[in-house]
Amino acid sequence: MSTLNIPIYLDYSATTPVDERVAKSMAECLTLQGNFGNPASRSHPFGWRAEEAVEEARRNVAELIGAVPKEIIWTSGATESDNLAIKGAALFNQKKGKHIITMKTEHKAVLDTCRQLERDGFEVSYMDPMENGLLDIEAFKKEIREDTTVVSIMHVNNEIGVIQDIAAIGAITREKGIIFHVDAAQSPGKVAIDVDEMNVDLMSLCAHKVYGPKGIGALYVRRKPRVRLEAQIHGGGHERGMRSGTLATHQIVGMGEAFRIAREEMTAETARMRVLRDRLWNGVKDMEEIYLNGDLEQRIPGNLNISFNFVEGESLIMSLKDIAVSSGSACTSSSLEPSYVLRAIGRNDELAHSSIRFTMGRFSTEEEVDFTIEKVREAVEKLRELSPLWDMFKDGVDLDSVEWAHH
């Protein structure tokens, strides 16, 4: 008999707990008895052992994405990788052109990096997704110009979990000689990645969404054909000069172990996630006025993003106090804006305000899902009883025809 641990964690896309096996490997790299040396120390075995551990981790990360170890550059996380990739490639190639293409549904680490480049005189095209969240490939082709040097498209969207057709985009950028960066923070262990088949030039990765520690990430930098970057952090010339700074052995070892486990367990895990995801969706989909955000098929297993119309997201989260989920609505984050991702796929403000993201992971169980279904149904019913909009909907009032007093 397993018992339910309250609160239930269903926010695996925000971060994951560190796998016990990963934590153990990390703990072995800290103390005097452990592998504590500086991997850059060439003059004694402490350094050599640490370097060996770092290189093994590099192999594990490379292997999961079909790269060679030399193409992996350690960073502090996906945000730094995004910055290094986009700024590094755009600046290095600025004599060729100053046009970048990305999407409106990218993570802020990509969008804000592009904004910064705009301030530095670059031009950026922010593509609208289609209603299912995917990039319109034909529209993308038309957006490419003579001076386009960098394209940055995420693999898996953090909010709605949709998977972009990276191989289709990569085929186009390779043919045109444009550098293709992919933010893959959300995809390792959930979707197969092969940087060669997909023609990816740069790929941002992080450990903490894959049951590894926070504070460590990597950037894949293609060697053939060689992609060159302008470094953003200068110092001792670590990581082939692309990212200076003493390597954090324990963090790197943790990421390597996390990626090794992800590679070994991906097939079984994705199948299990899919069962849980379908169980959750089947448990709520008959409710009135609910909308699934993003394509159901072109989507990682383990993600459901649902708008519960006429119920405000933050109050729904408050009702679901035994379940840790996140909302794309106002107030939960520091901004008062509804999710820009949901707005970009064409959801109106009401539906964007009413959304909840459920993300399941390695330690989620069927019991947790069943409990969640019950609680969600209860909470939505309670809040709709409280909602004047629900009354109006039931009375057949078209809410769009009402003149609201905007404040």
Binding site: S315, S329, L336, P338, H353, S387, W404, A405
Partner: protein, 135 residues
Amino acid sequence: MAYSDKVLDHYENPRNVGVLDKDDPNVGTGMVGAPACGDVMRLQIKVSEDGVVEDAKFKTYGCGSAIASSSLVTEMVKGKTLDEVAAIKNSEIVEELALPPVKIHCSVLAEDAIAAAIADIKAKREEQSTVKASA
């Protein structure tokens, strides 16, 4: 963000949820906010001939603080005269519920709802008196 105990109490046990007949000549209805902004409040008050609020009901679409603010308001207005009700300030709601700065707009919305309900009942009464006068 942590909610105050009072917000949680009103949120979990909202007072006076419901609907009064908006066509009743003694009922004033105020609906403020917009779905696009993430909150809509409907406050209804039933006012006696001599101008005392006998009953109040609300329904609110919005965050926990918005729901708590409107629930609190229904308690605050009962038994008061319209003039006393009109004098209720959002700062009283902020204080009572210990709302953080990012939630002050919820109390402002509740004050607006009160004003809108009062305006509605006053308009109804004026209309009645004109009808009576012309009869």
